[in-house]
Point group: C2
Chain length 424, copies 2
């Protein structure tokens, strides 16, 4: 095996025959493997099964003199607000504890901005002629889908090793139509980049033309290290406050990858003024979120320190899977002279940049061989990767042996697509 770029046409054709034969052999196995979504594995779910046993009698249902079994406490149980404040290093009064989905909270913030406006909006976004949003890319497809859903024009911002290209961001926010930006500041989806202190400070000190500019700070992987120690992270709410922008940031987090995905609790953290504003809006749609589940989580997770101990157990399960991805790529792709990828210390993804112009074809081949991946392009606004290169690998769900099989198929498909491109 050698660098594809150095091969003769004949050598490439021979390599193609060899790889395609292997591809066909894989196909015959009728595989059904999935590396599409950041889903925890069964081992991880079993790890936290005791959570289901933590709240099972009437006396345990009372906390701070509040019976979680009845209506009330729109902003969340005091103990749940304190838990999230501990996790995110902000104040309990700066938290609104939601239901099972932080995505739903993000959607509701954008949806309410659209129908009613944010705290400092001159008018609802639906009454504006044009609304734009900055989308550091590659990024999270579900973020982009929300802005697209409301007809918001998405502007791609490049990613650097320190987070979004802040020169671009600072320039774009001069435009009053630019109303916000999507961020995953720690172990970004999919690149696994941790925003640097400088980047974070530049975010806090933005001077956007729009008075209602919103930093959508999706801190989805705030305690999700799988290699090395927990990395403390600045409290963006305080930094924004210190920079004179107290109401500019909306932070989100959830226990989806701590306890049970889709059955956890989530949080919106922002200034007290924003909490008051959104509590008023949210009071129209609900009486309260699931306080039984909030208390269940707090009783089980206790606090940040204890949560970090649980995260170390998750890490132990995740680490070997990320190792399989890394080793597979090193062994099968690196010698071919194309492709680059990250080696994250946390989060749920490996972001691979394969030979430009071949990502779509490679994933079509994967599908043919029974390996499901996040669609090519999904990590860019409107699902269009201008280079047709980035592929998000989500290795958490399959057991290690299945993952090895899946990576073998995946790398084969990458190679076939690359050779096809070179032979064109």
């Amino acid at each position: 095996m050698a660098n594809y770029y150095a091969m003769t046409r004949q050598e490439l054709e021979e390599e193609y025959q060899k790889e395609y034969a292997h591809f066909n052999a894989c196909k015959e196995q009728n595989l059904n493997l999935n590396m599409a979504r950041g889903k925890p594995s069964n081992d991880q779910l079993d790890l936290v099964i005791n959570m289901l046993r933590t709240l099972n009698d009437a006396q345990a249902c009372v906390s701070d003199d509040i019976d979680v079994r009845n209506y009330g406490e729109l902003e969340g149980m005091p103990c749940a607000r304190a838990y999230w404040a501990d996790m995110l290093d902000c104040k309990p009064s700066q938290t609104f504890v939601g239901g099972v989905s932080s995505l739903n909270l993000m959607f509701d913030v954008i949806s309410r901005a659209y129908t009613h406006g944010l705290l400092h909006s001159p008018k609802p976004w639906c009454k504006e002629d044009k609304i734009k949003f900055l989308c550091p890319s590659p990024g999270y497809d579900r973020h982009f889908r929300i802005t697209e859903f409301f007809g918001i024009e998405m502007i791609t911002v490049a990613m650097t090793d320190e987070g979004p290209n802040m020169d671009q961001v600072e320039e774009y926010v001069q435009d009053p139509c630019v109303k916000g930006i999507w961020c995953v500041p720690k172990y970004s989806n999919p690149d696994g980049i941790v925003y640097s202190e400088t980047t974070i400070q530049r975010f806090a000190n933005l001077k956007p033309a729009a008075p209602d500019f919103a930093i959508m700070w999706d801190n989805a992987y705030c305690v999700h290290e799988f290699r090395g120690e927990y990395k403390p992270f600045p409290d963006i709410i305080r930094l924004c406050e210190q920079a004179g922008n107290p109401d500019m940031v909306y932070e989100f987090a959830s226990t989806s990858k701590i306890t049970f995905p889709g059955s956890g609790i989530c949080v919106l953290a922002c200034s007290e003024e924003n909490i008051a504003y959104f509590s008023k809006l949210f009071s129209v749609q609900m009486i309260s979120n699931d306080k039984v589940n909030q208390l269940r989580h707090v009783l089980y997770l206790k606090d940040k320190e204890h949560t970090l101990k649980i995260m170390q157990k998750h890490a132990k399960i995740l680490r070997p899977k990320f190792k399989v991805v890394s080793e597979s790529l090193h062994r099968m792709i690196q010698p071919c002279g194309f492709g680059r990828w990250n080696e994250p210390k946390g989060g749920y993804f490996v972001s691979l940049y394969t030979m430009p112009g071949t990502a779509k074809r490679a994933l079509a081949l994967c599908k043919e061989a029974g390996v499901t991946m996040t669609p090519a392009g999904a990590t860019y606004p409107y699902g269009i990767d201008p280079d047709d290169s980035n592929i998000r690998i989500a290795p958490s769900l399959p057991p290690v042996e299945e993952l090895e099989k899946a990576m073998d198929v995946f790398c084969t498909c990458l190679k076939i697509a690359a050779i096809e491109k070179l032979l064109k």
Copy 2:
């Protein structure tokens, strides 16, 4: 004690002195009683406490080969969809199982109609010049708040013993700006009226000018009899289908008053086309609802038959409370010659029509004496009762002895306000 209308001025003044003395005596007790909201009592919560113990190991978390602990199944667990289909007499494929709040589902339907339109909308409601909604009144204040929130003009429709005045409804729907109607068809909030078969058939056979006219059918009290047997109720979805209006109705229900308020499961039931349309819209905001809680509920509640047995236990707790309300009103108000009220067989409210022009004053007095009631006017659009007469009594929360005290204060306040009015 005699009919106030037959009293001389002097007799009224004497009666006033007597009642006011009693009011002052009540005030001195520093009461803190609440008949404001349809909150179940602690006894009712204790009744279903075993639900918290029904799902506590990994094996139990799998149903229909789906592990409820992971992402997926946007429309809900198959077993939960089957449960609601049994409850509402519709098909599982006509159900979308939501989170803890049917109010939130109703909000989302209206919100999405506003931003994107319903299945047959020519355009999103926010792009229409004018949108109107029919509001049978007295009705549920939280329904009215949703339509008001989106700037939808609300038109009051009178209630009859058989449900909304259908002559009015049939006339109003000729207006293409009229896009929907709020209904609580069984044990209406607050009147406790059960829509008659004729009313329901007239609903199903409406011929509205708006192609996207929406019947918001909030079947909140579908199995909530507290006196007598369960009363079967027609499946509005099938009736609409038979009438050639398959997509006109959106039905809602929840377990908020079956298991735990704010921690239950809820459902949107409608045509399969509507389910497909809304699943697509909802997929932007969430991956799935809380399936752990869905399975927990199905394991505990089992099916409609078993649920009805649990409802009989709730009924046993609720019955004496409604009896206190009825007897208090009979004893203290009826002889005075003003006021009329319902004697519901289900639901959560007694609807009292006190002397016109005195409801606000009576409830201000209640507040002064430490008894919290739903604000006067809340049962009408914009919080304005043109007669200042209707008061919603919610007797479920307080224990019987507290309720007796609260009703004593309440009736005293009604009388004082009435005499003041007569003496003016």
